[in-house]
Structures are given as C-alpha cells and as structure tokens.
Symmetry: C2
Subunit: 235 residues, 2 copies
C-alpha cells in the first residue's frame, strides 16, 4: 500500500508520501512515489502516486518522455488532463495482459502552480478523471488514508505555517505507520511556497531523523496528556 497527502495551504502546497511498496508481506521494497517537475520562475508541478507501482512508474516515465509538451501546458487543469490521458493510455497498454491476482489501477495527487494561476491541487482517479480541492476540502489523501485522517480533520488549518503543517503531516503519517505495515519509512517531503515558482524544500525523512523521532515519541505522550485532560465517565 501507500500513504500520500497533498495539503493546500494559504501559503502554498505541501506534499508527503511514504516509500514502501509491497507484493505480499514477504516482498517489500522502497520506491519513491513523489515526482517533481520545475522550471524556475515559471512552474512547479508535483505528482504523488498510490496503487500499482508499474502503472505509476509508467505514467511518470511517459510524462518524462513528453516533458516538452507537458511543461508547455498553460494551466494546472491542462496538466491534470494530460496526466489523466496518460493514465488511460497505460491502463490500455495492459488491457490484454494475463490476469493475475492484482489490479493495474493507481490514483494520483497532483499539485503545483503555473505562472498566471494560483497554486492548485487535484486528485486524479484511476479512471483518469479528476477533482480539484476547494476551501471545503483543501487536502487530498491517497492510499491508506483512514488511520491518519482523524488528526487532519481536527488540526488542519489553511492558515498554518509550513512548519506546523509538516508537523501535522508527520503526526498523520506516524499514526498510519503504527497501524499498517505496508506503509513505511522513509518519507518524502516537498513544499512549495505560493508564487515562488521554484521548488521548495525537498527532504527525505528516515527512521533516524531527529525531528521525526521527536514527533513520533512526543505525540504518544501528548495524546496521553490530552486524553487525561478530559473528564472521566461517571457511570
């Protein structure tokens, strides 16, 4: 499985994704599921994938082969459409494949900014169609989204600083890592400051990362204190 999140913030966009892939519990490996394309001063585009790794990699490779065309598109809507068409093409490539136990499907989070537009964030379905985030739903999750959702629901605030938003993502990822073995470290982080038109911080967070350890250990204690602060039930 996978866990990936894209957050639309007042100040820009933040993305995080795990790197574990598995074909059964006894066959795991580490693959990046985050791709970034940037032309400084003009556009930054980030793509996260979840689902079939071959499909996700093929989509990324085809976009790289057509980078000239992709990086000339004039809106993020057109970029989402381009990726949607590429997904359909990859699925068609495998339409006559022998059927194993798995599925070829993959879903994507796409975010970024192209000069002339605001930053935009999309969720692209395995069918290639897509939805855009709105103030009502300003973030998207892909893959194993359930364990990490309650903290996003409670603590996300579009006005947050990037520093707090990265903390929020690490708490959400830590809750997921603790419950689903098919989501695994290291994590990939990518930030994009709105209207900067250049890649923000790109960082790989591994199991020895001091800040990750601070959050992972600190969150357990903080949760226990939060829990203790509420009144006990009186039967």
């Amino acid at each position: 499985m996978t866990y990936g999140v894209g957050l639309k913030m007042d100040r820009g966009l933040i993305f995080m994704s795990d790197t574990r892939t598995n074909a059964g519990l006894d066959n795991i490996a580490s693959f990046g599921k985050m791709r970034t394309w940037a032309t400084e001063g003009e556009r930054v585009i980030v793509l996260l994938s979840a689902g079939n790794l071959a499909t996700a990699q093929a989509v990324g490779s085809l976009i790289n082969e057509r980078k000239g065309e992709f990086m000339a598109l004039t809106s993020m809507f057109q970029a989402a459409r381009f990726i949607g068409e590429t997904i359909k093409e990859v699925i068609k490539m495998n339409a006559d494949a022998p059927k194993g136990g798995g599925s070829f499907l993959a879903s994507f989070i796409l975010g970024g900014q192209i000069k002339g537009e605001e930053p935009r964030l999309y969720y692209i379905y395995p069918e290639g169609n897509f939805i855009e985030s709105t103030p009502d739903t300003p973030y998207f999750q892909i893959g194993e989204h359930k364990y990490g959702k309650p903290i996003l629901v409670r603590a996300y605030d579009a006005a947050m600083t990037f520093e707090d938003a990265v903390k929020l993502l690490l708490v959400s990822f830590d809750s997921t890592l603790k419950s689903n073995l098919s989501v695994g470290l290291p994590l990939d982080l990518q930030t994009y400051v709105g209207d900067s038109f250049k890649q923000g911080l790109q960082k790989r967070i591994d199991r020895n990362d001091p800040y990750y350890l601070t959050i992972s250990e600190g969150w357990g204690e903080a949760l226990k204190r939060a829990f203790a602060s509420l009144p006990a039930f009186e039967g």
Copy 2:
C-alpha cells in the same frame, strides 16, 4: 458498516458498539448490534456483531431459541464454539440464495465470564473459527476499525479504570463517527466487572448525551493543544 470494540481490562470487560445499519447511503436504520445473556451469580455473556444484519440477527435468534443449551456451557471457549457453529449454520441456510450485490458474512466479538473461569474475550471470524485475546492484544475491533485505532494503540492500558476506559472508547468512536457516515449514534455500552457474575452498566448513548458531547467537543480542543505542544518543524 459498524464499529464495535471489546476491551479486556484488569478489572473486567467493556463493550461498545454503534447502531447504524445501511443498505446504501440512502437507506439507513438503527439496530442494536449488542446482545447480552446473563444468569446472575453464574455467567454473563456479551456478543457484538458487524457485517450482514440478517446473519447477525439470525445468529442471535438461534442462540435465543437454544438458550437452555447455550447457558449450560461450561466455558467461554465452548460458548465461542457454539456461536461459531451457529454462524456456519446460518451461512449454510443462505448457500442456495440468489446472489445479489452483498455478502452474507458477519464477524463477532464475544466476551464474558462463566463461573470457574477468568473473564475471556474472543474474536469470531465469519467462517466460525475464532481467536482469544491475550495480554499482547487485549482488545478486538470489528467493522470500521481504522479511524478509531490510533487512540486505542496510544492510550489503552489494561490497568485503566472503567471510567477512563469508557472515555477511551468514546474518543475512538467519535473519531470514527466523524469520518464514516455508515457508523452512527446512538452507541451501546456494556460493562462487566470481573468476578461479579452480574451485568454491569448497560447504557445507550445518544447524540444529546452530555458526557458524549463533552468528549466530542473537548477532544477536538485537547488534540489541538497536544498538537501545539510539539515543536514545529525547522526546514
């Protein structure tokens, strides 16, 4: 869907379950999914169900029809086996049914105490076989278990008071209610004090329950404070 939890505590057993059933988003209803059988001074047995409502109700009805036999069993292991056999019988009843979109499967949490034994807690699979809780895994969840799991993982402690354990369950249920519409209030609570051999507190918690409201509102604030107490990321 459903969300149900059985906790084995040092002091006894606690069960909570929601009451929503649905056949599509446009067809919801409220049905209890918790059944208790008790002979004061001798045994208390609690059964939670998740999955196909007709299967769960049929299992409950057959046990009621065979109550003499069921309430004469000499161990919780035998009670789990009895329920497992009943599940298999119900599934067989429907083996030749026309196939619609749904599944007849249901899973169960069984807990209680029969004189001569400690309190025991079981998870019964849709196939009718079952596992018993151990100190390593002292609680079971059925149905929509993911949203409410992180707080159980972090805050459960077998030595907790019942008052704290009910608080823990309400936090876990509230996280689930906020994310999955097919889990709904009211909630059913049943406690069993170890070696009491009588039913403990049985309570239905609805959306106006003052304690539920205190937890639901207070938890959002407590989580935000917990989150704020951790250091922000320094990019």
